[in-house]
Amino acid sequence: MDNTYCYHCGDPCDDQIIHFKDKPFCCYGCKTVFEIFDEHDLGYYYELQAAAGSTPNIAKGKYDYLETPSIAEKLLEFNDGTYQIINLFIPAIHCSSCIWILENLHKIAPGILQSQVDFPKKTVRINFESSKISLKEVVLLLTRIGYEPNISLENYDRKEKKQNKTLIYQLGIAGFAFGNIMFLSFPEYFEVNEFWLDQYKPLFRWLMFAFSLPVVFYAGRDYLISAFKGLRSRHLNIDVPIALGILTLFIRSTLEILFDWGSGFFDSLSGLIFFLLLGKYFQQRTYAFLSFERDYKSYFPIAVTRLLEQNKEETIQVYEIRKGDRILIRHEELIPVDGLLQKGPVEIDYSFVTGEATPVKKEVGEKVFAGGKQLLGAMEMLALKNVSQSYLTQLWSQAVFNKDNVSSFQTLTDSIGKRFTLVVLLIAFSATFFWIFNDPTKVWNVFTAVLIIACPCAIALSAPFTLGNMLRIFGRKKFYLKDSGVIEQLATIDTAIFDKTGTLSTRSHDTIVYEGSALSKEEKSLLKSTLRASNHPLSRSLYKLLKDQDIMTLDDYQEYVGKGLYSSKGDQKLKLGSASFVDNCSSDASDQTVVHLSTNTQYRGHFVFQNQYRPGISELFTKLKKNMELALLSGDHEGEKHRLEALLPSLIPMYFNQKPDDKLFFVKELQDQGKKVMMVGDGLNDAGALAQSNVGIAISEDINVFSPACDGILDASKFKYLSQYIGASKQAIKIIKLSFVLSLLYNVIGLYFAVTGQLEPVIAAILMPLSSISIVAFTTLATNLLGRKIK
């Protein structure tokens, strides 16, 4: 039984096996998907990749809002009445089978004309005829075959995000001009006063000049602008010497060909800008399918059901919720506003908001807060506020979320750039000074040559290539960073703060301890059979944990919502649930998540659900403790304190019952003391602290779904290697420093030619690419070696 895996999704079939056409399935959902594919001769899906599917999970009525034209209109990319186009984000896309089936949707539903998958972004763009199939039907079809799209408030507010392609154009221009200028300047490298060459020299030179114009003023303009801005704010960044080099190269070359002094340095000029842009491009690559900028909008639904007089239902957009509206929240839906519960009882999972792992019970008349997820059937509530004023959403009005996060952090390159510029100017002026007295004809030549050769191309390339490559290596290890600047920040971290639920522990309760009198075989069997019928999350995890028992048919079974289960078989009666529900319960363990059990009116014991901590956390904490201060901030109650103390090295401060803004202020306070803080968290409750911290890392079990705004996303399975990643970042900084030394060596060689007044265009043209290429080779090799060491 243990070795049967679902033909569709590949999950082990532990609870039940459904056989259909000689194939095993783990649930009816998977079987239905197979049936749909089979019916339309799309069985090729399973040939491309075995067990490619994911289990469909349909909540009834969830997508009714797509029938409201004003909402649908906002989501559609194109609509002319007949044809409609929608671009949907589908987190489940993960293999070639997914691409294939999603691009063959038109075989399942005739109304769909064409669908195209963008795999890196995990989106599918569907082109359909609205008279034959509606938007809701399209979404339901996708959900039914296991590709549920993720539609949230974020899609509703979508602004047209134009991808910035300027850098690619700049790179194209620079590369194009570089190649052509190289060709044109080649004859003059070997000039032997030939008649033919002399005849056409001006033509070649002016052509090079023409090619260099777009390079300097379009491709290289960012450096000029940045240097100008830096100078205006009295800040010498690395772009200052670069801009100085570019301008000197251009002006000297233009003057040279104008007065026929020489052939100019147009080849070096365009090559320099081309390499610089290449580094920039290398550094900028990001993960298209991840978003690091999420706020509550990505979690919130677009629409909710408002109840009108006589219980009529109406779908409205969540921004339209007004104080006093009655709202229907269905099973597994998110509560969008703070309100009063009107019909229940309910259990609300607040884990995204507070970090509290256990669902909270609420009775009619109690207040419920936005961000919770309804777990028990449908509920009705009265809105007390509108969306943006809710307790949770107000967190985003904190200053951290509004200020531009391009903080005052000075990169290594910039701090080098400052000293570098001063030294270069010093050398240039002293060399000039020297030649004024010795040979005034060489002054102009030497002064410009120093500025040209000292242009810190190789220095400017060290960081982008090292960090860009590290970014890629981390990405392969499932540690996704927002940009390469995060690596530099990570290397400076001296304080690390961890969230508990979802970060140190898994979200699910996987460790269950039974405390009480031992159960007989019949009782165990009855218990298992009772649990089998229940869909409550605690029942499911308890069911999975109990050893195999004979399943019997129950005489009586009842589930009391929010209280517990009751069942009987013969003269055996069993009650399972909360302390007030079972008989004669005397135990009091309110700090923990407990399920009590009584048989035949006698109290037997209780199951304690404990958080399962991720493997390797004590080793991780011991390692991190050596280099930095640690702390734990949890929104949960203190129930787990003793277990944590046993698990973690001593002297780690732990703070419980922390509200989202408490965490934010905690981080801020540390930063005010001059600490560089790394926050590791997972839920919305950490969002403030993640944004405030120097490096905010979100732990995620499934990188495609939930992660709040952060600087990096770490796959939960790699959590124990976090210390290695920090170590690797520090090593990367060392690599950058080493390559600085290397590029300074090239500069010294070049400066020798420059100061002595013998800089020929051909030397510049050799030295410049040589230094750049060797720096790129060195950093790439070194980082790859480093990458091999980390797991």
Binding site: H40, Y44, F78, Y83, I99, Q114, Q163
Partner: protein, 71 residues
């Protein structure tokens, strides 16, 4: 000797044509998704049974081309 002008013109024109092709391909979004097409081209035109192929629009290009461009 003026053949050099002709050669230069030709060489620059060729270069500019390729450059224009590059700009055009970036503009039209060919570099937006550099992975999916590599998988897509490997799919076989799998067999579709006769009865089901009749009533299904198997032509992906049913949408007029002009319509696609404006999207």
């Amino acid at each position: 000797m003026s053949v050099i002008y002709v050669l230069l013109t030709i060489s620059i024109v060729v270069a500019v044509v390729f450059f224009a092709a590059f700009i055009f391909s970036v503009k039209s979004g060919q570099y937006d998704d550099s992975y999916t097409p590599s998988v897509r081209m490997l799919f076989e035109d799998e067999l579709v049974t006769k009865e089901s192929s009749k009533n299904l629009p198997n032509d992906k290009n049913e949408l007029p081309n002009s319509k696609r461009k404006q999207l």
